[in-house]
Symmetry: C2
Subunit: 332 residues, 2 copies
C-alpha cells in the first residue's frame, strides 16, 4: 500500500503525516509506504512503523506529475496549492499551480492507466472558497459554485475535472471542501483567512494579534484535527455511495469572530483577549464579505463526516496538540 | 465597431451572421466590421451593408488566439466548440478545443490588455449540459453545475474562467446556457441531442427519421431564432446588471418528445408523423436521462431574454426560415 501526500510540507500535510504515523492502521493495507512530496522536500519524521520517502517536486513543472505517478501510488492526498491571498496577488502563478498542476496530476494518472490498468484513490482538498455571495442562510449540497476569488475559481475547476476523470474511470476521485482551518498552528501565511487563527493562536502564547474585520463577521470553521479526520474519511469512504457528484462540502462550525473571542476568554481569560488589536483592513473586509458563513453539509454528515462541537473545543484541541496541554504555565 | 464570431461556420454562427447582415443596427456602433472565424474559412455571404472578413483559425493551435485578438475586436461571440457526442468519444480533442481553446482566447485577451488597455465584450455560448441529474422539478439560477458529460464539464469550466477573467477586469464576459436548439437546420451532426431536431426536420421534407428514446422524454428547447436573440441580447446587455455571476441559463420551452410529435402532426399531419421510426438506442437513452428537463430561468427573464411560446411556433419558424414558408407544396 503506497500512500502519497502532495503538499506534505504544508500545515494540513504535516498534521496528516503525524496522524498516519501515530495510527498506521487508520488506513487499510499492509506494508505501507508513505511518500511525502512538496516543493521543498518535507522533513522525514522519526518513525517506528511506516517506510517513508520524501521528495521535492513541483506539479506545475512539466514532467513532474508523470515522474511521481510512475510509482503508482494507491492513494494520493492532493493538498498542494497556492493559498488564496497569493493566488489573488499573482494571477499566473495561481493558475499554474492550482489549476495546471492539478490537471497535470490527473492527466498523468490517465496516461499511466493507458500503459497498465491503474485507478488510484485521489483525495482532493477543495475549499469553501468555491462559494461566493449572495448566500442563503445555510449553503446546501446543491448550491452553485460561484467563487469570488481566483483561488476559489481554481478549486471549483479542479472539482469539475475530478468528477469528469472519475466518471470516465481514470481515477477514483473525491473532493472535500474544507472549512477554514482554525486554529492554524505555526506562523501566519498568505491566506487572507489567516486572522481567524491569529487572533486565538497569538494571544494564547502572550503575543499580540491584529483583527482586521468586525466582530460580527461569521465564518465556517474546522480544527486541524477535524480536517485530518475528513481526509482519512475521504480516503476510506466507499465511493459508490457518492454517485457522480464527487465533491462534498465538509461539516464545520459556523461562528462569529465575537464567538471566537468569547471562547478565547473562556479558556485563557481577559488578559488574552486584550492582546487582540482591532485594525480594520478594507481589502480583507471586502474578501471576507464574499465568503461562506454557514453550510448545511447534509450529504457529508450522512456519509459519516463529523465536525467540531464548539469553539471552546477548538481552542482546547489547539492547546493539547500544539502547546503541550497548558498555557502560561496553567494546565487547561 | 469590430464584431468577431468564433465558430461562425456552425449552425448558430451562420444564423447569427444572417441576422447581423439583415439588421445591422441590432448591435450599436458605426462602421461595423464582421470577422467570421472557424476551422474552415466561413463562406462570406453576399451583403450590402457590413464589411466582412472570413478566416480559418483553430483556437486550440498555439498562437492562433493571439493572432485573432491582436486585431482587438470589440465584441466576440465565442461559439466554437466540439459537440457533446464528439467530446465524449474523443476525450483529448474535447479538452483541447473546448477548454484549452477557450482559455487560450481569454489569455490572449488578458495579455493584449497588458500592452494597451483592452476589455472586449465576450459572449460565451455555454449549454444546459453544465447540469446533471438528479434535478429538482425546475432548475433554478442557484443550482449546482454537476455535468455528466465531458462536454458539459468543459463548458462549466469555461464559465468559471469567464467569471474570474471578468471579475479581474480582463474582459467583459457573459456566458449564456443555451437550451437544445431545435429545429436544427441542415444535416445531423455528432451532437447526441440531434434526434430532437431530426424527428421534425426530416418528416417535414418527406424523409424518415429515427427516434432513439421514448416519447415521454422531456427536454429543454429553443428555436434557432431564439438562440440568436439570446446572443444579441447578451451582446447588448448592461453587464452591471449581472454582478459577479456572469453565467445565465437562458429561458426555453420544456416539452416531451410526444409534444414535439403532436406539434408536427398539427402543422404537417399524420403522414409526417408516420415517417418517425422508433428505434431505441441504449447509449442515447442513458445520456439523455442525465439531461436537464426544465429550467426556471428567472434571472434571464428578468433581464429581458425571451423564449419560444410553443412547439408549434418552433415548427412554424423552421418552415418560414428554412423551407420558404411551405411544406410539400402546401403553404402553412
Amino acid at each position: 500500500m503506497h500512500l502519497m501526500i502532495l503538499g506534505a510540507g504544508g500545515m494540513i500535510g504535516r498534521k496528516l503525516t503525524q496522524r498516519l504515523l501515530a495510527e498506521p492502521g487508520v488506513l487499510p493495507g499492509e506494508g505501507k509506504l508513505l511518500s511525502l512530496v512538496d516543493v521543498f522536500a518535507p522533513e522525514i519524521p522519526a518513525t517506528t512503523g511506516l517506510k517513508i520517502a520524501s521528495e521535492a517536486a513541483d506539479l506545475s513543472v512539466p514532467g513532474t506529475a508523470e515522474r511521481l505517478i510512475a510509482r503508482r501510488p494507491d492513494t494520493i492526498f492532493h493538498l498542494a496549492a497556492i493559498v488564496s491571498g497569493e493566488a489573488e496577488a499573482n494571477f499566473e502563478k495561481g493558475y499554474a499551480v492550482n489549476l495546471d498542476g492539478t490537471r497535470a496530476l490527473f492527466e498523468a494518472i490517465r496516461l499511466e492507466g493507458k500503459k497498465q490498468p491503474y485507478r488510484p484513490r485521489v483525495v482532493f482538498a477543495s475549499s469553501i472558497a468555491v462559494f461566493g455571495e449572495p448566500f442563503p442562510a445555510a449553503i446546501g449540497d446543491e448550491f452553485l459554485t460561484a467563487p469570488l476569488t481566483s483561488y476559489g475559481t481554481q478549486k471549483a475547476i479542479c472539482e469539475l475535472l475530478l468528477s469528469d476523470y472519475s466518471r470516465r474511470g481514470f481515477l477514483e476521485g473525491i473532493g472535500i471542501r474544507l472549512p477554514t482551518v482554525c486554529i492554524r498552528p505555526g506562523k501566519p501565511n498568505q491566506a487572507a483567512s489567516g486572522f481567524f487563527s491569529n487572533i486565538l493562536r497569538e494571544p494564547l502564547v502572550g503575543q499580540e494579534a491584529v483583527l482586521p474585520v468586525a466582530v460580527d463577521v461569521r465564518h465556517w470553521f474546522a480544527s486541524p484535527r477535524s480536517a485530518v479526520g475528513f481526509l482519512i474519511g475521504a480516503a476510506t469512504l466507499d465511493l459508490r455511495r457518492l454517485g457522480a457528484r464527487r465533491n462534498l462540502a465538509m461539516p464545520g462550525l459556523s461562528a462569529t469572530v465575537g464567538e471566537e473571542i468569547e471562547a478565547l476568554r473562556a479558556v485563557a481569560g481577559d488578559a488574552a483577549v486584550r492582546l487582540i488589536r482591532h485594525e480594520p483592513n478594507p481589502t480583507i473586509i471586502r474578501m471576507v464579505g464574499g465568503w461562506a458563513r454557514n453550510i448545511e453539509a447534509k450529504r457529508a454528515i450522512e456519509l459519516g463526516f463529523r465536525a467540531d462541537a464548539s469553539f471552546t473545543d477548538i481552542v482546547r484541541a489547539h492547546i493539547d496538540d500544539e502547546l503541550g496541554g497548558s498555557i502560561g504555565g496553567r494546565s487547561i
